[in-house]
Structure formats: structure tokens, C-alpha cells
Amino acid sequence: MIKRALAERRVMLGGGLLLALAIVILIAPVIASALGIDPGLVDLRQRLESPSLLHPLGTDELGRDLLLRLLEGGRVSLAVGLTAALASAVLGTAVGLLAGYNGGRFDALLMRVTDGVISLPLLPLLVVLAAIDLNKLGLPASFVQSDAASLYRIIVLVALVGWTTVARLVRGATLSLVRRDFVRAAEALGARPLRIMLVHILPNLTTPVIVATSLAVGEIILLESVLSFLGVGIEPPLASWGNMLTGAEETIALAPLLAFYPGLLIFVTVICCNLLCDGLQRALDPRGRISPP
């Protein structure tokens, strides 16, 4: 299976670029400390400098090196993206599996719920959810004020939306698997539903889950960047590509490059994810049994 995947051009292109990006992002802090540069250090005397040897992409409006800040933002955006994608995958698989296996009314109900979630105006709702005071949910105050809280919050928010993609694909695949002989045989032998789902069906869902998750990663990165851009996702001074663009529409005349790079990186990353997804689908499911929504 992996061989087939690697043979597909799109997988190589998309996956390769992503990998390269990830490596650069991970190495960045090492390089920074080797050179003695602190990416978070504000130095007003060096605001908005043009690119130079010391600062290959110049500095931002607080004097921080732009390149390092972009890489730092990438670290956060990718980490959040992957984690949320995994969470979405787990949740979506569970829902899709249950719906596909049980069929009938249960399936209809779950699908109506999924459709219901998709059809709502999600962004305004997420903005409200993001503004909730976590103290009122009973969480300890020390957690609420920590940096980690805003990270956990954005992962939960994004996963709340991302599971629908995975659920639909998994449900479709489950529906066709359920009619297969080996499943019927297991049922005839008296195996319990849970065992059937986990032992017989789940392993065969690998392909749709992978395809769906790779599709979801792209959506999730976009969603995180939007929420951070609006100021309800990752909060500064922790950098993310989205929050580096917050308020950029006001200063765009003064510093156009500051608005260009972070968005470009989001664009490139999401294209790579989508390429990867497209490629994986061609490689692993050439007959098109799984169709993305």
C-alpha cells in the first residue's frame, strides 16, 4: 500500500513539500539558539527593517526577525493542525462506524446531526464558544490562565467542526463493508457487534480514514488560521500564521510584506495537504469508491 502511495506523483509532491517545511520548522529553534537570536525579543529600534543578511526577510513592526517568527508560527499551526486532525479522525471514525454499521434509523439520525452541524453558520458559533469563560466550566484557575489553555481550546473548537468530514467518508465505506461476506460470517457465528466493528471492520477502514484525515488537515489549518486571525484562536505573543495577520488590513499600506508571507505559507501548506489527499486517494482507491463530500 505504501509503495502504491509513494508511486503517485501528487503524494510525492504534496507530501514531500510538507515534510520539507516541517523539517525546517523543527530545526529553526536549534538554528536560532546557535546564532544567539531570540525570536520573541522586541527591539523597537529595529522596526520594519528591509531584508538584510542578519534578517533575511526583514523585521516586523516590533523589531522581531520575520523569518524566525514565521517558522515559529508554523510550528504552532502545524502542531495544532495535526493534533486536531487526529482528534477529528477519532471522533469522526467513531460516528461514521456506528452510523454505517447500525444503519436504519440510527444512521439516519446521525447523518441528520452531521448535516445539521455542517449547515450551521459555524464561524460565528465558534467565536462565541471561544469567548467562553473557562472558569465557569469548573476548570481550575491556574489552568485557565496558562498558555496551554488557549492551545487546548483551539484544538477542541476545531475538532468540533472537523469530525464531520471524516464521519461521512467512514460511514460510506462502512456501509459497503457491512454487506461483505466476512462480516456476515462473523455475525452468523454470533460475534458481538462491538467486536465486529473493532476487529473486522475497523482495520479495513484504514484507507478512507487516511484519505479523510488528510483532507481534514487542510480544512483544519484553514480554520485555525481564521480563528487566530480573528483573535479568538491562538493568542499573541505565541505566534501562529493566522494571528500574525490580525489587523493587517489597517497597516497593509505601511508594511505589505508582513501581510504577504504568513498567508502565503498557509496557502502553500494547505495546497500540499490537498495534493497529498488527492494523491492518496488516487493511489489507494483508484476506483473512486470513496468520494470526498
Binding site: 460565528p124 462565541v128 469567548a131 469563560d133 465557569k136 495577520l245 499600506a253 504577504f260 494547505v270
Partner: protein
Amino acid sequence: MSRFLARRVIEIALLLAIMSFVIYALIGLMPGDPIDLMISSDPHLTAADAARLKALYGLDQPLIERYWAWLKAALSGDFGYSRLYVQPALQVLLPRLGNTALLMGVSFTLTLAIAWPLGILAARRPGSAFDGAANLLSFAAISVPSFWLALMLILIFAVYLGWLPAGGIATIGDGGFIDRARHLILPVLTLTLVNFGPHLRYMRASMIETLNQDYVRTARAKGAGETRILLHHALRNALIPVITVVALSFGSLFSGALITETMFAYPGMGKLIYDSVLSNDFNLALAGLLFATLMTLLANLAADIAYAVADPRIVYR
């Protein structure tokens, strides 16, 4: 058909009711005492009245009772006062609703006007250069972050070229048709470019599948012209699954409108909800969210009706 409609209307009402309860509960989790703020936002309420209401409907009362009281008032048109604008929330909301409807309507029409023809043409010759280009375009469109696209458009058209305004709904002292149209161009363009990708792909996929059907081959064999086949035989059937997708896209259209309105300082519902949540204007946020949900659900209903009209085979039980 009317039974179907009746059922859908009931579903929508139910969904709206559930959402209103969920949103109301969420507002209660906002920082501070939102109920107190909602009650005392009304500048004409006496201090004694406010205290009495708070005792009656404050955060220490059961959620259900609070919600019920709010619902009764809302159904009679009273959504409370906006803390930010010192006016009844509904009064602030309605003009914004119109602005957003305009933005969404124009861009949605444009989206379909671009996506569908391109999708159909691409489906005619799958694998051709045209198809490849269309695919590439839609691929890029679904990957681009909408707020970045807006920034780049502002940079090019407002800052460098100076052809179009960078934001707002009208110039002060003007507000005529041309002025408003100029202000609408960039927001509509942003929203359209961001949304057309999926619609192109679905139309293309649906058309390809339809064109492979037996009855199409039959029509070709009988000597019908390509155009007639395309438009008369295939399109009607290809439209059906596509409309389902269209119906599901209104929610994301509204979300896109929120970002666009914020970027271009366009006074619409999306920006209003965003501003009001962030400044703790709970009456306004609540009313705004509900109207947004209602708008989206009604659009869904309209799409369902179009679906029923398009497919005479559908019998709704």
C-alpha cells in the same frame, strides 16, 4: 410535496429552537455576569426594575426558566437593548441583515455563474487542457485562506492601483448607487473566489457521471446535438446532487461573509456578531446568532424546494 414542505418547516423550527437554547446557555458561560449586563443594557429601565429582573432571571436561576423568559420576550419582538449602540437590539440588527443579504446574494449568484459553466465545460472533455486548468484553479481556490486573499486584493486594487476603496460600505456624503457598487466589488470578489472551487468540482463530477449514463448515449445515437444533450438531458439530472451540496454551503457562505465583512469594515451581520461577542454585548450577540442561523436554515429550505422542482422523480413521504 406540501407534506414534505410542512415537515421541513417543522424541522427548521425545531433546529432553531434547539440552537437558541444552546446559544443562550453558551452566553451564560461568558465572562462576568452576562444576564446582569443583558438586563441593565436598557437605559430606560429604572434601577429598581433592573434589580427586580435580575432577581427573577439572574444567573442563579435555573437555566430553563431564564431561557423561557428570554424566549417569550424574543417571540414578541423584544430582544433587549444593545449595550454597544444604546438602541433596541433588533433596530441595530435589521439594517445589517440587509447588508449581509446583499453581499451573500450577489456573491453567491456570481459564484454559481462562474462555477457551473466552468464545471460543465470541463466535464465535456475530461482530461483536456481546459479541464486541467479548471482543476488547478478550483484546487487553488479551496486552499487559499479567505482573509489573506482579501488582503492581497486590497493591496493590489486599493493600495497599489488605487482603483477601488479598501473598505466601508459607502463614502461619507455619497452613498449613491455607483459609490456603493464600488465598495461592494472587492468583498464580493473575495467571497466569490473563495467559494467557487467546490461548486465547480461538484458540477464537473456530477456532469461526468450523468454524461456516462445510458440515456445520454441513446440520445447521441439518435443524433441529438451536443448542446441539446448537454443542456436538456444531462444538466437537469446533474443538477440534483449538486443542489444538495449547494444547500449545505450556505452555512459556510455566512462564515465567509463574517471574515469578509471584518476585513472590509462592511457593516453586516457577521461583523456585528463578532463585534458584539467581543465587547460583551450579549443581547445583540444572541439576536445576531439566531438570525444568522435562521437565514441559513431558510436558505436550506429554498434549496430543498429547488431540489424538488428539479427532480420530478422525487416523491417525499
